[in-house]
Amino acid sequence: MTAPIFADVEQTLRQQMVTDTAPNDETPGPLSPSRPVRSMGVRHGILVLELLPEALLAVARRLRDTFSFDLFLDVTAVDWLGQTPRFEVVYHFYSSTHHVRVRLKLRVDESHPVVPSLTSLYGSAGYMERECHDMYGIGFEGNADLRPILLYEGFVGHPLRKDYPKQQEQPLVPYRPPQGALVR
């Protein structure tokens, strides 16, 4: 399934957002500062765009203002342990006019996992960026309130990273000593 708005988005990408030396080049090349956005086509009914972190604010603003993707659905991350760059931050937007979704993907490295915050465009991004910061340790530049939202103060590490030990507990209340065998 595809939607007419996707063709518009892709055309705009080609014409305005991509300052490529070869604007008619249809092959999706690697991302570079001169070509910060590329379309990966429509997958499962969702238009997928890959971009550099620097282009995020411009792309999101254009999606919201020009193409009326007015609902911020989600931001989360994928931990590709062993790859470089390691983290993939994934955004979803929904258009209540066109009733379609668009997905943005961008890669950040483990050494500096920071992306721009979208709280200036979508107020609802604040909570979801806090959760993503909890679970993956992604920093959001411009979000002033990145306190733990699902975790608690004093939690060390980021539990949804693949290198967090699966059963490591960080109890807030000290455990009682084992009470011996169960007595009926």
Binding site: Q167, V173, Y175, R176, L182
Partner: protein, 185 residues
Amino acid sequence: MYGKQLPIVDATRSAPTAAGPGGGTAGKPATFEYLTTRKDELVGWARKFSLFPYPFVTACCAMEFMAVSASSYDTDRFGAALPRFSPRQADLLMVVGTVTQKQAPILLKVYEQMCEPKWVMAFGVCASTGGFYQNYASLPGIDRIIPVDIYVPGCPPRPEMVIDGIMRLQEKIANGRHPIINDRF
């Protein structure tokens, strides 16, 4: 039916001619003139039928808790019906559902706010052992932080299991020691 029967001695029948306490009523059939029992049995018998549960309900087991409280299964028949939503008034803490590490201080505070005597039931496998949540988020059994008297496993437990758990807890109360603060009793 269950638990020990209270040994009630009928004064008039066992000694019909004795002028015991209330001797003027000698000859009346089966009146409770006096009874002999152990203090622990009497207090335990009273306590086991007046359990006021505090439902610490956190997860999907709550549905089963509602089922067992509602009219089909009706824990009221066992003297454990009236939920008190203040830990000060409750004596049975029913921990129904998963308790996360973040909630553990709250559970501990609720437990500490309850007056003696108090009992704790771990309702469902998450409260008993953590169940299949063995990760950073959830407490592997509430007995890591508070003492537990009765464990009801199951995901969720059937209402029959909960009732069986309540009855076993009542047996435990009936057979337990009940120290009273006043040394004259």
